[in-house]
Amino acid sequence: MGVIVEQLGTTNNVLERQKFDKVPVSLGRGFDNDVILTDEHVDAHHARLVESEDGRLWMEDCGSTNGIRRPRHKARLERVEVRSGEIFLVGRSRIRVFRADHRVAPAVRIRLSEVFLLWLGKPQITVMLGLVFVCVKFLETWMSTIGEFRWSLVLERHLGEALTFAALAVGVYFLSVLFRRGGNFLAHLSLLIVLFLFASLLEFAHTVAVFNAGDRLYPTLALLSEARGYLMLFLYFWSILYLAFHVPLLRRTWISAVVVLVWFGIDHLPEDSFQRLVDSEQFPMRQAFLPPALLLTEPASADAFEQRIESLFPALDEAREEALSDGAEEDMSEETGADVPTAGDGPSESR
């Protein structure tokens, strides 16, 4: 009977795989073993795989110092039956044993998104994207610079973006190496650039929309602007989970969704008074002006707008009523607090 013995890393990543046509197979630190382990906690002749007469596979302890255990179990195993695919701790080494007739899962079809992500890993693609990225940032800076243009402005204006970029590029690669997932650094870099470019494009589209819009569209645009941030976050997580950690599709989708939800929750904690102040300062919406050629909507007629102005008066009367009833409630709560007004420090009337 054939067996396959795998030496695993801390995250069950396969470090070495050996196939044997027949048992017994000996495991230990000594060089005369079939499977040579380099772990100092392993004895020279530590364990053996044997087959019993009825064809079952067993793992035997050869009187070792540290014994054999199952992961997360304390009990030492002297002689234990091996089920195909089971993991044992031999000393501190993780060993997985398969029978040769172990059935493997069917192949996973290569998805288009994965092909794309791998294509991004080609060096020439990374270099090309990098150049496009720099050009776009240059153009962006040049368009918005009033006064003298300096090359250093390109970095100065986008310092935050550049720092985020560098931190993500280095940080994720570092994690990927740490977990020995053999992440594709170039693909990761290209992906970052693509995502940042995509974000810039969305932002420009949003600016054009704000330029064209009127107050009726502002709430929608504000929502879209927020949604844009979450979309980028989702896409980014979704991609790096594959590139750097090879997480399967379904799992990386829900992990990304959870991250986005948590982020959304943090952004929408109950409002405090300071936040309300900040919000109210944004009046009525940040104006955006672009060349007149980018005005794509047909302006309204003066009469139509005047009707809208007239409708503003009843709306304000309503807002006033609302503010008054809110104010009355606040007054009530103040009264119950027995707040004594201290007017003594009020200065005498001066005009």
Binding site: G147, L290, A302, E306, I309, S348, E349
Partner: protein, 434 residues
Amino acid sequence: MRRGFSVVAALLALLSVTKPSAQPAEHSALFEALKPGLFTVEVVDRVSNNKNAQGSAFLIDERGTMATNYHVVSEFVHHPERYTLRWRDSTGETGGLAVVGLDVVHDLALVRRDVPDPDDASHAFELAQGDPVMGSTVLALGNPFDIGISIVPGTYNGLLDNQFRKNIHFTGALNPGMSGGPAVDQDGRVIGINVAGAGNSVSFLVPVSNLRTLADEVDEVSGEPENNEQDRLADMRERAVERIKAHQGRMIDQLLAGDWSLESFGPLMIPREIQTWITCSGGGREPDEETPWRESHSNCTLNDRIFLSRTLDTGPLEIIFGWYSSDRLNEFQFAKVFEQNRFMPYNRTSDDDVTEFECREQWVRLDTIDDLPTKTSYCLRAYLDYPGLYDVLFIGRVLMNDSEAIHIHYTLAGVGRDDALRFHRHMLGALEWE
């Protein structure tokens, strides 16, 4: 220490306006005669018994009615449950006061002693009938900084041109605390009521005719059954809304009937000094290295503010035109420059006085601006305590090809709906494209 300094400053200011021709002996005789009719008005906190505001007042009839400024008693009018009103005379005697009439627009209030004094008839001030002669000596009386009744001689300089309300321009130093005191001619007749000092001996008086109108009005309504004080004050506040609305309506009327002849301003023809009480200034800037665009402004204002409370005033008006152009900036850069402009309301408010601005904002074609797409913002806020009064903030922004742009901006404060819309139509209709 600071108080001491301001006293010295007040005395110095007093000395500097005392003309050598003035006759001190005569003034002192007049002062002695008028002094019993002069009072200090105090707004006192009910709980702590501390003074919240202080001003001057003077007797005008035998029933113990005194005239003072609305801004002296405004805290009491708004919060009668929190404050009481008290008079104090030069001998230190005190007593309670009730508010019997308000003219918020002209910053006047009539208050009455709870218990009239039999001597009130003889102590009451006489109100002058005609206007004084330009340059004649006027004596302002009051209690500056609560340091004692004082007399400030100065000169009558006619009515102010740059105000719609037409206060008297008095050259003499009015100091805080003198508000509400009388300004008398050399015969001791009241020609105005001290209202504000603008520093450097430039001060303003409310013409006495406004006081006479208010006193007549109070006499007419005094036959009505007496409600409790809080209800009466609420009524007065309600009437104040109507007065302000009517006053601002008259202002808009005169404005619309004014001189709308147009002057050239870049590609636009705009009105300038529509009325004598509108003050216009203009300015511009040529392009330079750091700011490579041309910019000019026309800024017309009516800086005539009606005091409503310590945190709220209303009434001023502002009309601003801006014109920008550049040969060196591309259209993206130029749009960025244009985007930086910020527009503010012109009157003072706090969160407790008004609602937040609500806006209608849209691209609109205006025929008086050559049918060019104009990003038009019409923003409105309502006064919480004065139903039917609004502040308007209007901005029209036109971005043309070849890096040229104009903006049209005006603010109105404390106007009713109809007046606001009337002004808006007239304003936009009056413009012309060159």
